[in-house]
Symmetry: C2
Subunit: 213 residues, 2 copies
Amino acid sequence: MTRTRIHNLSMSLDGFATGEGQAPDAPFGHAGQRLHEWMIATRFGAPILGRTGGTVGVDNAFAQQHEPGIGAEIMGAGKFGPPGWQDDADWRGWWGSNPPFHTPTFVLTHRPRSPIEMAGGTTFHFLDASPAEALDVAREAAAGQDVRIGGGPTVARDFIAAGLVDHVHLVQVPIVLGRGVRLWDGLEALEADYAIEAVSTPSGVTHLTFTRS
Amino acid sequence: MTRTRIHNLSMSLDGFATGEGQAPDAPFGHAGQRLHEWMIATRFGAPILGRTGGTVGVDNAFAQQHEPGIGAEIMGAGKFGPPGWQDDADWRGWWGSNPPFHTPTFVLTHRPRSPIEMAGGTTFHFLDASPAEALDVAREAAAGQDVRIGGGPTVARDFIAAGLVDHVHLVQVPIVLGRGVRLWDGLEALEADYAIEAVSTPSGVTHLTFTRS
């Protein structure tokens, strides 16, 4: 049985997984890079900023789980581009010519466009669909591998609330953002459906895993 | 120099330090005992429910810090009693004849009454005062020892936001309460003023310490 997974979803102590004021030069709003410094410091994450090296400890062990066994990703419109990207026919995502997905990648938007084939195996498909419908399409494309729900937080929350996610990896970063998009809204009693484990690491973050029980 | 400290302030993953619907038979509303099971399981916490024994591991090491070096406590009206206790002239708190404070204890309320001397060294004093004013009074009473801000979450937040707290110990419990009183509101960028450490324990909770830097 294939699974639906979320990885490396980082949030502040007060539960904001992105800040306020998302813009072309600020994909995470006023949060800047602060939610992802832990990941950029790892061997898995260093290439995101074009770096080499990086740590290979506990944070990296979690971070690299983002890739293996994934056959497709689903992401929200807010992850694909800044507000209004739908009005820019040339927008191809934040990630340059070779995005870090390397699978079919489904972008949820009320204004679908034609698929965009990128280098490295990523093809962006655009879907106006409910979470369950999108997951059916992505599963088919994943050809027996798992589907990753790539975020942002609103999409992650929608899929979790719909009972569609088997494994969630959250990373709690010791900052208080105060504003932005909350992950937890509408997820009361989530613990009833999942086995939850937590581990803090020397970088100061706490990894939480939720595995459907 | 004496310090102002918060200990064992437990909250859900989504940041609620008490649930919704506080009532005489439900001091933490719909959260019930779930925010404090980790503490009741320790040697420090077992007596709260009249039990003996209890664990003496990492959770207990944190829990017992509640007591040493404390000369006075400040608590909010919502910790002292259920909504409306001010209308009950006989209300003497939730804790029976020997409350677990054993020091002068200052209850913030807009309707002060005469002090109540309890067994075991606790005397309840009632103050209509700002956080800074209350802290001055409590420091005087603490006679060179530290002052504990006992909560609930609104009072803890007010004292933290006013820059009056030197050390905060939070305990994050792996449940999603969905509603209640949030600790984090109004505390944006708190990390700028504190060194923060985190450690998860086998019981599943994560202890966070904030120490003024």
